[in-house]
Symmetry: C2
Subunit: 341 residues, 2 copies
């Protein structure tokens, strides 16, 4: 079996972990990475990250440089932002070269929501070049959209979908703790959320993907976010939060149709949140009531989702794809890879 050639775009915390996981996988061959940080350019990926990768896999300052020196990968893993339009621009050279892209960009979970025209253009480009583009992740990308949709597969009727997620952000990486407002003045956090500069990205996209999958036309998607304020001092590796300051967020997003709430997503993500879990309720026939004890945990799951989607993506028809259009994404773990047929 030929190994799948991959390259990484973006070497932030998720991009680095993606490469470390790829180094463990017998079915993937890392041919290089793209990162604008000049401190990394030119170095070997494995050396820079401290993981066993071929010395030929180097860090380049652009996709063009990677392609010129290492050739084209089968798939590019993109972990460099939440904005659909910016992400489209970043991966355009790969798509133009016919290279498929899996991205953790939250807005790419359902890119038509915020960038409908650009999505149509990129989709047409992919169909010409044979490339596919998909957004993936845990949230958005799994707990609040793909998994609930999978559950509805055994329902003859669904009237509403509710998902609740409680995450103890102490266990997560620094950029995430910052993004949820850790340590900020609550008023400042509210202002930053109102300006689109804080909060959990991709909530609206999860609602849109759910509605699209179920064939529902929503009248409105409504999102709110409140800071969770510390009652006592909370100290993490990255933050020291005084009483009265922000520990994180309580964000809600609802999808309404005909004046009724058909979809309600509820996320509490803050430092020290007790009893972390995910819960999914499908109101329908049959109804389903699903509890994930402890929840789907953090960054390990994100890089797993990113790497696991690659084989599914490469079998899909060219174009801008939704996760729901791909064959089932499953774990291809290191121990399994040796047994691949």
């Amino acid at each position: 079996m030929r190994r799948i050639k991959i390259a990484q775009f973006g070497l932030g915390p998720i991009g680095k972990e993606s490469m470390r996981l790829a180094a463990e996988r017998a079915d993937l061959e890392v041919i290089g990475a793209v990162e604008i940080d000049p401190a990394l350019a030119g170095r070997a990926v494995g050396d820079a990250l401290g993981c066993p990768l071929p010395a030929a896999a180097r860090i380049h300052s652009s996709f063009a440089a990677l392609a010129a020196q290492a050739g084209l990968p089968d798939a590019l893993l993109h972990t460099a932002g939440s904005d659909a339009t910016r992400s489209f621009a970043q991966v355009l050279p790969a798509l133009e070269a016919g290279v498929s892209v899996a991205s953790t960009c939250e807005e790419l979970i359902f890119p038509r929501l915020l960038a409908p025209e650009r999505t149509t253009e990129i989709d047409a480009l992919c169909r010409r070049t044979g490339a596919r583009l998909v957004g993936t992740g845990v949230n958005p990308g799994f707990v609040m959209d793909v998994l609930p949709l999978c559950l509805t597969g055994v329902c003859r009727e669904v009237s509403a979908v509710y998902v609740e997620r409680v995450v103890d952000a102490r266990t997560r990486r620094q950029p995430l703790q910052a993004k949820i407002g850790s340590g900020q003045d609550p008023a400042e956090f509210r202002a930053r959320f109102a300006a689109g500069k804080a909060g959990h990205a991709g909530f609206r996209q999860s609602v849109a993907l759910l509605a699209h999958g179920l064939g529902w036309r929503l009248d409105e998607i409504r999102e709110t976010c409140e800071p969770v304020v510390a009652e006592s001092r909370v100290v993490t590796t990255h933050f020291d939060v005084a009483p009265g300051r922000t520990l994180g967020l309580h964000q809600r997003c609802v999808g309404l149709a005909g004046g009724e709430t058909r979809i309600r997503l509820d996320l509490q993500m803050y430092l020290g949140a007790p009893l972390p879990h995910d819960a999914i309720v499908i109101q329908g026939r049959p109804g389903l009531n699903v509890h994930l004890q402890g929840g789907v945990a953090g960054d390990d799951a994100t890089v797993a989702a990113l790497l696991n989607v690659v084989p599914s993506l490469l079998t899909a028809a060219p174009g801008v794809r939704l996760l729901t259009e791909l064959p089932l994404t499953v774990c291809r773990s290191a121990s399994a890879a040796a047994h691949l047929p």
Copy 2:
């Protein structure tokens, strides 16, 4: 949007309920049914079943008769047995005509396990005619295979999969209560299971689908089944079970590799089983611990799975397909159908 033309093969309890659900769906058009029971042949499906279907949709004694009088459907729904080879023979005329088939035949969840050569032949036939064949259902087909596989999509490593299912069979149809041994002498039930005439069908296929999805090569699949014996009298609509007689079954199926249990499926299905639920444990990184309160309930879910898979099946490449090879199967409920894009 053109409605998907479907026909039903087999009008047992599941086949009848499949037609009743289809009658509610705006995206499906029932053009007829095939049933060997002479009491039904020639009648209108809707009249015979008491549901609102077009008068032109009649019950025929063979697929050839259906095709001659009503034309070819886009998909045939097959609900007429658990045996792969017999089911292949029953749906062969449809596949030869290029008609895709979704079946609740338990062995078709992973037909290569028991009928590898016939599967290869049928697969080749489908590729020639453009037809697809897939086996679907709740168990096998969802709780113990597709749903656990879906969960592994966010795992970077999986070492084992455990699924436990407790079903109160009082809520299920008569044939199922009979199949699990209700009212039988425990010794008789054991003998019938050993002869392959009792027990839950499709367990080994769930193990095989899980292993295939995860890329694991199993050394052995081992199955056991014990009767659950009544301590006191239990009365249902269909059975009156005296103390000492069989209430149902406790069936286990394990998949072993390198001397280790990598997959363990455990099913208790008996009259009056307390606290019905499904539980899935993915041992891995991250580990997942999922509880479905009350479990995925019975026959509603089975017919839903059967009808919901049709749109996914029709987009798949021709051949004998596994559920894991199709785009995500989701609920297309009656209320949603009017809004389909």
